[in-house]
């Protein structure tokens, strides 16, 4: 429904935010990605496995955790191909986001790359690995054929 006629507006003063996100408490996780490892956190007291990793255990309130390698294979639970991208992803071509249940027991959300769209299906096998991206260390899936 068109508005009539074009209305008066005032431009606000511009503002730009860049947040500096602390990653010290999960240093081992982020450094692991840089060394090609993908870790989940495991509570040293109750054994709860978490991905994404957490520096503290909400189940038993313990603060002692260790890192467990979760690279390897998993199975696609669901996925989508994102066509309309956010402002800060405009330079990126369309991407596929996949949620996969890993053999290690954790569920991981990440991009699936290098696959033909028609091959991406619920139940398909994927492999998780560390990925170096211009925005920092990350991780992603490829299809297992």
């Amino acid at each position: 429904m068109a508005l009539s006629p074009p209305v008066r507006r005032l431009k606000s003063r511009p503002i730009t935010f860049v947040f500096e996100i602390p990653t010290d408490k999960l240093r081992e996780f982020w450094e692991g990605l840089e060394k090609g490892k993908v870790y989940a956190s495991k509570c040293k007291k109750c054994g709860k496995l978490s991905f994404p990793p957490t520096a503290d255990c909400a189940r038993c309130l313990n603060k002692e955790i260790e890192m467990v390698d979760i690279q390897g294979e998993g199975e696609i639970e669901t996925f989508t191909h994102i066509v309309i991208r956010p402002a800060s992803f405009q330079s990126q071509p369309t991407y596929t986001v996949t949620v996969a249940k890993m053999n290690s027991g954790v569920t991981v959300l990440a991009w699936l790359t290098g696959a033909k769209l028609s091959d991406v299906k619920v139940g398909a096998k994927v492999r998780l690995a560390a990925v170096q991206s211009p925005d920092g260390p990350s991780y992603g899936f490829t299809l297992v054929h």
């Binding site: 429904m1 508005l3 209305v7 507006r9 606000s12 996100i21 991905f51 994404p52 639970e77 669901t78 996925f79 989508t80 191909h81 994102i82 066509v83 309309i84 991208r85 956010p86 402002a87 800060s88 992803f89 405009q90 990126q92 991407y95 986001v97 949620v99 569920t107 991981v108 959300l109 990440a110 991009w111 619920v122 139940g123 991206s133 925005d135 920092g136 990350s138 991780y139």
Partner: protein, 385 residues
């Protein structure tokens, strides 16, 4: 706990509302609510403002709205529960009366989403999950999150893109009869199927629009309500729940657990079942979300949402009319306004003032289901006439 009734409702026109600023838009909803209740700002003890914010210039929107409505000096809070911020504001106002702190309270839901460009809005809503783990590296979008559920539902239950489209067609049909709706036009299945892909399998017409809008209600204690009106609408129960910020930590993708838990709480407290409602507003931010709601709320069996829309059971005259105000899909979804807008529409239904989209009122029961984020928050509210 004291009984609490809705005694006044007001609604702005939803849509591209760059003709007004934030408090002016709030006024469009508050003025008719005051007039409906036959009250003025002097009579109100407390204001809660539901808004997600971030896409308009005001950092303390509640104080700006409160001053503009003449409510400075009264109790005031801003409520944020993402797309359920409006319901959070209603629940907060309700609680201050039920607990005996106040006798009359107003809840305003408001959002102005068109003061930033569309891709910035996509960015901000995309961050409404877990920025660190799902946005920073993976650029999740709000349609993307619901697309994950659509993919899983289609795979598990054989739900089709045509069935998703039927939800949009139904809600646009009713939206075309709602003078406050953003998209007041009927559409056909092919319009949905041929619309631009947003996040496979969801297309543009599977998505609610980016809208501006405001809605307001006035709540009163039982004694006060009975002195004000012959047709109070009672808030029988509010059930709330939440779920993980990380979508990857959910138990599954074919439903929203928060809806199941919140509705069980609300139904138990109100001593009602899902088959007793005369009308329901459910959170159809995307077409798949409406089908998930049918199943999560118990309107049909798990996996039968597609069948329910096929059979027209959620049209007026069906088993339970759903979103006959056009839903978020056609009425529009100004994030913080939505939960309050549901109360306005359902109050008009229970008062039999809903005009062309009036449903038959048999049990005098209505249900509002408002989800925040992708099942991150859920508020289920039971209303009774």
């Amino acid at each position: 706990m004291r009984k609490v009734a809705i005694v006044g409702v007001g609604h702005s026109r939803f849509g591209d509302r760059r003709d007004v600023n934030l408090p002016e838009l709030a006024f469009e909803a508050a003025k008719p609510a005051f007039e409906d209740a036959n009250l003025t700002s002097k009579d109100v003890d407390f204001l809660s403002v539901g808004t997600a914010g971030g896409w308009y210039e005001e950092f303390l929107p509640a104080v700006v709205v409160s001053e503009y409505l003449g409510l400075s000096g009264k109790g005031l809070v801003r409520c944020e529960a993402a797309c359920a911020s409006g319901s959070a504001a209603v629940a907060t106002a309700y609680n201050t009366i039920a607990s005996g702190q106040n006798d009359v309270a107003m809840a305003v839901g408001i959002e102005k989403m068109t003061e930033v460009d569309t891709l910035t809005a996509v960015e901000l809503i995309g961050r409404a999950g877990y920025y660190l783990w799902e946005f920073h590296n993976f650029g999740m979008t709000f349609p993307g999150y619901y697309a994950l559920h659509a993919t899983a539902h289609m795979k598990k239950f054989g739900t089709t893109e045509e069935q998703l489209a039927e939800v949009a067609v139904k809600n646009h049909k009713y939206g075309s009869m709602n003078p406050y709706a953003h998209l007041q036009r009927a559409i056909k299945i092919d319009d949905v199927l041929s619309s631009r892909m947003v996040a496979w399998p969801l297309k543009l017409y599977d998505c609610s629009p980016i809208s501006d809008g405001a809605a307001a209600i006035i709540l009163a204690s039982e004694e006060k309500a009975k002195s004000l009106t012959d047709s109070p609408v009672w808030i029988e129960a509010i059930g709330t729940s939440s779920d993980t910020a990380n979508i990857s930590k959910r138990s599954g993708y074919t439903g929203l657990e928060a809806t199941v838990i919140a509705s069980e709480k609300a139904f138990k407290r109100a001593n009602v079942g899902p088959d007793q409602f005369d009308v329901a507003d459910v959170h159809d931010c995307f077409t798949i979300a409406e089908l998930l709601a049918y199943e999560d709320l118990g309107f049909c069996e798990r996996g039968e949402g597609g069948k329910m829309i096929d059979e027209g059971q959620t049209e007026i005259g069906g088993k339970i009319p759903v979103n006959v105000d056009g839903g978020l899909k056609a009425k529009g979804h100004p994030i913080g306004a939505t939960g309050v807008s549901m109360m306005v529409g359902l109050t008009r239904q229970l008062r039999k003032q809903a005009g062309k989209t009036q449903v038959p009122i048999k049990n005098g029961l209505a249900l509002a289901h408002n989800v925040g984020g992708t099942g991150h928050y859920c508020y289920v509210t039971v209303l009774r006439s």
